[in-house]
């Protein structure tokens, strides 16, 4: 379900597993729920949250290349890997 599972570690040193991983590890096409964003630099966090990227929200990953693009509601938001690394998500059962 998720790629790079072995190579990358989840933010905050959690082992990547089905309960917690960084947004940059999620394969395109998958839907995930935002769990926490506290690792992000506060201005970036504020910026993303204003777009509705809030803990509890479900988002869908559209692509990871050249940068991470996700869909929040019907809006597409693009940001660099360094930002996606700081967002922890959990899978949604669909």
């Amino acid at each position: 379900m998720f790629h790079h599972r072995r190579r990358q570690r989840c933010a905050r040193g959690f082992e990547a597993n089905n309960h917690c991983l960084a947004l940059c590890q999620v394969a395109p096409g998958r839907e995930v729920k935002i769990r926490e964003m506290e690792r992000l630099h506060p201005p970036f966090r504020g910026h993303l949250q204003a777009y509705g990227l809030l803990p509890g929200r479900c988002v869908r990953v559209i692509t990871q290349e050249p940068i991470t693009v996700i869909q929040v509601e019907q809006m597409e938001l693009a940001f660099e890997k360094s930002v996606a690394e700081g967002i922890l998500v959990e899978p949604v059962n669909d």
Partner: protein
């Protein structure tokens, strides 16, 4: 789930003369503004261009002004745009506030609705782009939300004019709303403390407190200017206690409460049917594909080159300059003035070599206008199609090597239209460091449409290899100077975060309105300077100072750059606007006075020259005189240096001979 209650109060400004239009970026605010006022306004598809506030008279309510505010994502305000909008909400006695929301993104829309309702403003919500929402299988029950917020909610499709009459009726009937969402106890207590303080708040004290807790800059400034020190100290103390209690940020807590409230509401009022992915969405994904995105970008650039460079600078200029002015108007005027004007000096002033008409007006209208016109049309289409933010995504890696992010591509592309205008839009960049870098690169290495058209015409007359060399040199200079400057300037690079609006077919009338407004701006700004430049040249020529000045520049022009001596007068014009110089070189080339090598060296030098007097003013205005003039002092000798080096390199390689 947070509880809430709604209280409606009578409108305190029933005769108020102002109505404000507020909303997230890219929700069709400007189109609605146009529908409600019937007046022109700039519309754009990427966040940041609507920096200025537009105003217009409402069609259906006599004597009432509608203010179109810059797009806001939410409060506390983070950008200059958002602060402008917040100030409108703070400082105007508003009769009604119309929130324009994107029906597709209901949660995002409602976050702002909550904040506006909390302020106690007479609010109505126009849920716009209903057509797009329906196409995506979304079904919205507005009556549920109307009950909860206590405001009229109208479904609109502004581009087609549907729902406009309902909005017009609702404007007249709007009443102030008081929405109260339950926040955690500590925050509620802090709000109560502030509500008991004695001062007049510009919005409801509850909303004011929430902004204050989030360290909103406009709120901060208002407090500094409008409250006595005793109150201010109390306010700071209340906020400090909260910040200590919530070190992760009070704003985070507020947003979580609102998100909870919205989640319940959306659950009750939004149904989503499974919908298939549209072709536009699929194409949108292709445009940022690491492989397919590049050929698409190249195709877009080529189409633009064809439209502006070949059609505008070639066909249109040929028709206007050679046929209309060269063969009809100018010979007729010259003949007429020879009969009607007995004084040679006046004749020369009007229709001589540096004549106000034969040089100034002819260049401005026949040469530059078609080029600028075609560029603005092309740029308007790109802007409204939603493609530009995708270029930011594609170019992000390239810009990261010069310490910027893909967002910098927006002012750069706009710079291809007009560097002065683009320098102003560097405001969309978040950090002063990025703004300085982009301003420098714009002034140095981005040719504006007026110049670009002339340059492309000249390159086409030489050879394809000349075009490659020109592009190569400019690109190399851009990267090298950018890389060096990013090393010298302190501060870190900001990662790219950008919204990708859906790809849309641009609305024809919008593109035309926008082009006309930009053209008007161009004519007001550029043509007088053009005429002034011609007059200066004429005076210098008449008092025989021009030969002396040209003589002074000669060592540089002939010795270092290897150009004919007459090129000095063209270069002199470049101090006013570099496209004047380019036009001068263009004329010299078409008369056979420049060899291929000389033509290439001259256009490379002039591309790297300072853009124009107006852009220097803008640089000084935006960046301060120290940085602005410092950049000019760097660019002038640097462009000449590169031109001379290129001449030596190419002639040693035997190019063009």
């Amino acid at each position: 789930m947070a509880a809430c209650h709604v209280v409606q109060q009578p409108n305190p400004y029933p005769g108020g003369k102002t109505v404000a239009l507020v909303g997230n970026p890219n929700v069709g605010k400007s189109v609605l503004f146009h529908r409600l006022t019937g007046q022109y306004v700039m519309v754009s598809n990427y966040p940041g261009t609507t920096v200025e506030v537009s105003q217009g008279k409402l069609r259906k309510l006599e004597g009432v002004t509608l203010i179109d505010t810059p797009g806001v994502i939410g409060f506390p305000s983070r950008s200059e745009d958002e602060q402008v909008t917040e100030r409108v909400l703070f400082n105007h006695d508003l009769r009604t506030v119309i929130q324009v929301g994107d029906a597709k993104n209901l949660r995002r829309t409602l976050h702002l609705t909550i904040q506006l309702a909390e302020m106690g403003l007479p609010l109505i919500l126009a849920l716009n782009m209903m057509d797009e929402a329906r196409m995506r299988g979304l079904e919205i029950r507005t009556e549920v939300m109307e009950r909860v917020f206590g405001i009229p909610i109208i479904q609109t499709v502004a581009t087609r004019g549907s729902g406009i009459a309902e909005v017009e009726r609702a404007i007249q009937a709007a009443k102030p709303v008081k929405l109260e969402i339950q926040y955690p106890a500590a925050i509620e207590q802090a709000i109560q403390k502030i509500e008991q303080m004695e001062f007049d708040s510009p919005v409801s004290k509850r909303a004011f407190s929430l902004l204050w807790f989030g360290q909103d800059p406009v709120c901060q400034k208002w407090v500094e200017e409008n409250t006595p020190k005793s109150i201010r100290d109390e306010l700071i103390k209340v906020r400090q206690d909260l910040i200590e209690k919530y070190p992760e940020g009070v704003d985070l807590i507020l947003q979580a409460s609102r998100e909870n409230f919205i989640e319940k509401l959306v659950h009750d009022s939004l149904r989503q049917a499974k919908s298939s992915i549209s072709n536009a969405t699929r194409l949108g994904h292709l445009t940022i594909h690491p492989v397919w995105g590049i050929p698409i970008l190249l195709a877009v650039l080529y189409a633009m080159y064809w439209f502006v460079g070949v059609f505008g600078a070639g066909t249109l200029v040929g028709l206007l300059e050679e046929k209309l002015f060269g063969e009809l108007i100018n010979p007729w005027l010259i003949a007429l003035s020879e009969k009607a004007i007995p004084w040679e000096i006046v004749r020369n002033f009007l229709v001589g070599e540096y004549g106000l008409w034969t040089m100034g007006v002819t260049y401005a209208l026949a040469l530059l206008l078609p080029i600028v016109l075609t560029f603005f049309i092309a740029f308007g289409i790109l802007e409204d199609s939603g493609y530009l933010p995708r270029v930011a995504v594609l170019s992000n890696r390239l810009f990261s090597t010069i310490g910027l992010n893909g967002q910098a591509v927006l002012p750069m592309v706009l710079g291809l239209g007009c560097v002065t205008m683009a320098t102003m839009t560097t405001r969309i960049l978040n950090r002063p460091r990025d703004r300085i870098l982009v301003t420098l690169l714009l002034a140095l290495a981005i040719p504006c449409s007026a110049q670009l058209g002339v340059v492309l015409g000249m390159l086409a007359a030489i050879s394809f290899s000349a075009a490659l060399i020109w592009v190569g040199v400019i690109f190399l200079v851009l990267m090298l100077v950018g890389w060096l400057a990013s090393k010298v300037l302190p501060g870190e690079r900001t990662p790219l975060i950008v919204e990708l609006p859906p790809l849309r077919m641009p609305v024809f009338t919008n593109v035309i309105f926008k082009t006309l407004a930009r053209l008007e701006w161009y004519i007001k700004e550029a043509v007088p300077l053009f005429l002034l430049g011609t007059i200066i040249l004429f005076v210098l020529d008449t008092v025989h100072l021009l030969p002396a000045l040209i003589e002074t520049l000669k060592p540089v022009v002939t010795g270092w750059l290897g150009l004919p001596a007459e090129a000095a007068s063209a270069l002199l014009m470049g101090f006013l606007r570099r496209d004047f110089a380019a036009t001068g070189f263009f004329v010299m080339q078409s008369q056979g006075h420049l060899s291929d090598l000389q033509a290439l060296v001259s256009i490379t030098t002039i591309t790297l020259f300072i853009p124009c007097i107006a852009s220097v003013f803008m640089m000084v205005k935006e960046r301060g005189w120290k940085i602005g003039l410092g950049m000019v002092a760097f660019i002038l000798p640097f462009s000449i240096l590169v031109g001379g080096l290129l001449m030596r390199l190419l002639s040693s390689l035997g190019w063009g001979s």
